[in-house]
Structures are given as C-alpha cells and as structure tokens.
C-alpha cells in the first residue's frame, strides 16, 4: 500500500502569552515577559495517522492543539491542512476549514452545553453551516457512536447521561461535518477505566471507516502506546523527541523521555517498580534559562547544555531527538 499523504503540516509554531504585570512594571520595564507555551514546534500528520503529543502539565501540548485549530491565534508559524494555510484564511475560508478539522475535549461534563438537548447539540454544526437534513444526519451520527436507538437520546440532557455517553455525544458532534482531522485532547482521562477502551475503540472505528487523522494529546504514555502510531514528547514548549511509538518506547533516547518512561508504573506486581530518574518538578515557563530547557533537571547536563539549545536531529528512521548527547 502506498504511504499515506501528509494531511497536517506544522512549521515553527509559536504561541507566547504575555505575562500580566502591574501597571508600573509595564510602564517602566523595557522587556516584556512571556510564557512561551509553544516555542517552535514542527511536525507532520499523515492521513489516517494517530499522532500522539505527550508530556506533563505545562509542556504546551494542549496549547498546540488549540492553536493548530486556530482556536487561539498563533504568535508565529504556519499550519497547513492539505493545501490550506490555516493562519492566512479569511473569515469565510476559516468557516470552511472548521468543517475539515474538529476537536474532542477532555471533560465530558463541561464540554456539553447543560441547557441543550442532545439532538440540538449534535445538530448545531449543521445549523451553523447551513446543512439541512438534520434528523437523518444526527441519527446517523448517534448510530456511529453507538448510542442507539438514536431517538431515545434526542431529548435527553447532558446531566442524564453517563460520562462515557457524554463523550460519545461529543464525538458525534465532532464527526457530523465529516472532518478529515480531529484534535483529541485527553479524551479519556476523565472517564472510568472500564469505559476508556470503548471510546478509544470508537476513535479507531472512525479512523478506519472515515479515514480521520488524529492529534492525540495525552499525559499518559501507556495509552499513547495503545493508540498512537507516532508520538512526540514535549517539554516546556518544545519537542524533545519524536518517533514511532514503538521505537520511542523501545529506544528512548532523550533523558526526559527515559525518565518519563521509567516513572510510569506497570500493572504487574512482578514487573519493575516505577523509578524516579530525575528530581524536582517542571519549572515555570516564564523566564526560561538559556540553553537546553531540560538541563536544570538532566542527570547528564554538560557545559554546552547551558549555552546552546540543542536542535532536533535524526537518530534513526523516523526518530528525532533534541539533545547535545546525541549526534546524527
């Protein structure tokens, strides 16, 4: 089978948030402070690919997902969905874009409008884009997400549904416009364990039947392993490593990736215990130290790490690492 074409291309994406200081500081200090939430990120997602973006809180993965969909305006960089460059779209073109790219949120309790019934909620994208045939399309969507019989769900409200059911409603709404690309922001982390795999299975079904690509944002590497074809690890706004998930877990090269992996406990009491390879916690993204952002916690930090930020270099087929320890 020929390799799938590239659907999403992200080039040097940056999103900096200005830090609000007091009025006096604003007046008198020349330097503006920024939280560099996303600071130069590059990657590509192919059609039908599930691309994982993993990292701890504050690494910028959630912001990346939002900016790619232009739910937040970028500071700089480009994002291509097919041939369209997302940030240079006019208002009308942006509306068209919204049909091609959608999002599923983490919190099934807060991502549904509590005052809208399920039918109206799933039909809303159709109404916004003036697509008729609501009843047929909504029924179809509900069937696809396995909430059957659909009629039973039309007039229910979110608080009458379980977490898993709500998340299915969210998926139905995301897919009703037939998107090519969905950003899934930790879609199962707030669901009960026994329900998670059914939602993940649903996502796979959509990928297989409708050819949808995903950007799967998660902090849970074990789930990324189950779901993602390729995974990138983010730290303080930058990629530190990117590889096929299998290769990433088999051959973690960046010290942070290694630390993350050894820290994850395994559901096997006879297996290895979780280990702490690095100390401390993720530092504040304001006032980043010069050089490699990870050096303050890195057990292998060298002189050069303090001066220069490492570049992403290729260490294998489809395996990129950004670390001074590594040569091409």
């Amino acid at each position: 089978m020929p390799p799938e074409e590239t659907l999403v291309t992200v080039r040097d994406l940056k999103k900096w948030f200005p830090v609000r200081t007091g009025i006096l500081e604003d007046l008198f200090s020349k330097e503006k402070k920024y939280v560099k939430a996303v600071d130069g990120v590059n990657f590509q997602i192919k059609r039908r690919e599930i691309y994982g973006l993993a990292g701890e809180s504050g690494c910028g993965k959630t912001t990346t997902g939002r900016v790619i969909l232009r739910l937040l305006e970028p500071t700089s960089g480009e994002v291509y969905l097919g041939k369209q460059e997302v940030f240079s779209l006019t208002k009308r073109e942006l509306n068209e874009f919204r049909k091609r790219a959608q999002i599923i949120f983490q919190d099934p309790y807060e991502s549904l409008d509590p005052r809208m019934n399920i039918f109206d909620f799933i039909a809303e994208p159709l109404i916004v884009h003036n697509i008729g045939d609501e009843e047929k399309l909504v029924a179809n969507a509900l069937k696809t997400v396995e909430l059957t019989p659909p009629e039973e769900f039309y007039y229910r409200f979110p608080h009458e549904l379980s977490g898993g059911q709500r998340q299915r409603v969210a998926v139905a709404r995301a897919m009703i416009l037939n998107p090519e690309f969905i950003v899934a922001d930790e879609p199962v982390s707030m669901l009960d364990v026994s329900i998670r795999s059914s939602i993940l299975k649903l996502m796979f079904k959509l990928r297989d039947e409708l050819g949808i690509s995903y950007l799967y944002i998660t902090h849970d590497l074990a789930t990324a392993r189950q779901v993602c074809d390729k995974t990138a690890i983010m730290y303080l706004g930058k990629f530190v490593e990117e590889a096929t998930t299998e290769e990433l877990l088999r051959n973690p090269t960046h010290p942070y990736t290694q630390a993350l992996i050894t820290a994850v406990p395994v559901p096997d009491p006879t297996g290895r215990k979780s280990k702490v390879a690095i100390s401390g916690e993720v530092p504040s993204p304001v006032d980043l130290p010069p050089g490699c952002r990870f050096r303050t916690r890195c057990p292998y930090a060298m002189e050069i790490c303090r001066k220069e930020e490492p570049e992403l270099v290729k260490v294998g087929i489809d395996h990129l690492v950004s670390c001074h320890l590594v040569k091409e």
Partner: protein
C-alpha cells in the same frame, strides 16, 4: 488476629432520590504492614469505605451494620469521643482525595499541620513546630519551607505536605484516597516512592484507594476490587493481576494499558457502572458480564475462598 478486620459493613446514604447503597456488605482484613489497594471505578464505594473507617461520614449517611475491628476495639461501637481522642489522626489517619488543593491559602503550611497536632496532643507549640520540621524532612521537603504559604508550594510539594500532616501523630494505619491522581507522571513516581519508603521506615499499614491499577501493582501487596458497593474479588496483588477469577477483575486488567510488556487488544467491558439507588438484582455485575447465567440475575453470589487469602464473589466459581 488481623490488624484491621472489617466484617459485613453496610453504609447507606439517604438522598432525595432514594437510598444509595454505597457500601453494601463488604468484608476485608489487613495484617500489620500490609498495603492494601482498594480499586474500583467512580461510585463503587471505596471512598465511602474509607470515610466509614475514619468515622467521617456526612450527616445523611447511615452505617447499617458491620464491625470494624481495629486492634481490640470495634470502631463502630466505641463512640465519637473515644474515636476522636484515641484513634482518629492518632492511630489511623487519612490523606483525602484532592487534599492538596484544600490547603487553606491564608495559613502557612506548617501552621496547618501544627493545628492538627495540637488538636490531638497536649504538647507545646514549639514542640509541634519541631515535629513539623521533622516531618518535612521525612517527606522530602526542606524544613525551612514550613513557614511558607500553599501557593508557594508546587503540586508535588503540597501532596508531600498532606502526607506529612497525615503522619503528624504517628499513626499505625494510613488511608490514602487517590494520592497521586492529580499529579504529573514524574511527580507521581516521586510520591509513590515516598510512600513505599515511609511504609518501610515507619512500619505503616496502608490502604491505598485508587482507580489506577498500575499504582496498586506498584505499591500494594494486597488488592481488593470493588464494584457497585461490593467487593467482587480480593487477594494478594500477584494473584489478582496474574490469576484474576472474577469477570470484572479480568475485564479491568485486560483493558488496562501498560507501557511495557505485551500489547493487549481492546476488549472493552460493555455498559456502564450502575445506579446505586436501584442496583441490578442478583449479582450487580451481571448486566455487563460476558458470562452471565440465569442465576446471576436472581441471586447474589456468595463470597468463596478459592484458596488461602483469595476471595471471589461469583456464581461461576466453586471451591
């Protein structure tokens, strides 16, 4: 004689919609030094069990029946006064779910712990502060930071402070309710390592409540799986993970993603956790059980000891 022996505990809640049978006849035993993982999904009754042991239930809760024998007393019959003076926080303490976010922002962290100590022990304020500094060292926080406020602490530090608070009066038993759920992966590993080392150093017995099976595998030597207010299976951890007998346990473990080892295909458990006001008849798991038989709908299964220390409640199992 077990260190903690719970028999036939029933805790119900009266609500507007009806009576919630949150904990419906559970029994379990812990030996001294055990770390028992109490696992289950939201609403299964694990937190209620912990609150019942600590006698910290809300006003609409009723403990219908049961015994909780701790040492040589039954915690359910000794009365609030004695419980407060001799047991709660002194011989047993609890790390509450989300406690790290419940630290009072206007008091220094150390002060909140001294308050806890002084409520339960008749010592001077200076001694209490000294103890706080000792506790901070024990849990890995620089003792000088006891005089700081919660907002100056990171997430991991706050959780360490909460653990320090639970150890303030030298308890024998610590109940931890989802102690690492809200933490990042690396901080989680740090806290789990801390809890393991505290257990060794201080000879603590622990009940670790969590929905995360990997945390249980990582830190507990025994495990009990709860579903809809009942304990469906309990045994030592190795048995639970390697030879689970109850279909729910099997489903949970089969579905639990692991970062290493064999990749498991998706085998979701159908349906969703039941309503505890009107739970399913017979075996509560039968609507979701792939092996459900006729009897499962009509009769609640008995608890059988399959082999020493391995208890299952399922019609499929015989001695």
């Amino acid at each position: 004689m077990s260190f903690l022996d719970i028999r036939n505990l029933k805790t119900y809640f009266t609500t507007k919609g009806g009576t919630v049978k949150a904990v419906d006849d559970i029994s379990l035993q812990i030996e001294k030094g055990d770390a028992l993982g109490l696992a289950g999904e939201s609403g299964c009754g694990k937190t209620t069990t912990a609150l019942t042991i600590m006698h910290l239930l809300p006003s609409n809760a009723i403990v219908l029946s049961g015994k909780i024998r701790f040492g040589d007393v039954d915690l359910l019959t000794i009365g609030e006064e004695k419980l407060r003076k001799d047991f709660r926080w002194k011989r047993m303490s609890m790390v509450f779910q989300g406690a790290m976010n419940a630290l009072n922002p206007v008091f220094k962290v150390g002060e909140q712990i001294t308050q806890a100590i002084l409520t339960h022990e008749e010592i001077t304020k200076e001694s209490a502060w000294e103890r706080v500094e000792e506790l901070f060292s024990l849990v890995g926080i620089n003792p000088a930071r006891a005089k700081e406020y919660p907002h100056e602490f990171s997430g991991g530090m706050k959780q360490r402070a909460i653990i320090a608070m639970s150890l303030a009066c030298d308890p024998e038993l610590v109940i931890a309710d989802e102690p690492v759920t809200a933490l990042d992966v690396i901080v989680q590993a740090q806290i789990l390592e801390l809890m393991r080392s505290l257990r060794d150093k201080l000879g603590l017995s622990m009940i670790m409540i969590t929905h995360d099976l990997s945390v249980i595998a990582d830190t507990c030597n025994k495990a009990a799986i709860m579903y809809a207010g009942k304990i469906v299976e309990r045994a030592d951890s190795v048995t639970i993970f390697k030879q689970p007998e109850h279909p729910y346990t099997q489903g949970l473990i089969a579905n639990f993603p692991s970062i290493s080892g064999e990749m498991k295909p998706f085998e979701p458990i159908s349906g969703s956790p039941p309503n505890l006001i009107s739970p399913p008849s017979g075996c509560r798991f039968h609507p979701r059980c792939p092996y459900a038989m006729g009897i499962c709908e009509n009769k609640e299964p008995e608890i059988i000891e399959l082999k020493r220390g391995h208890f299952v409640s399922c019609h499929l199992k015989r001695h």
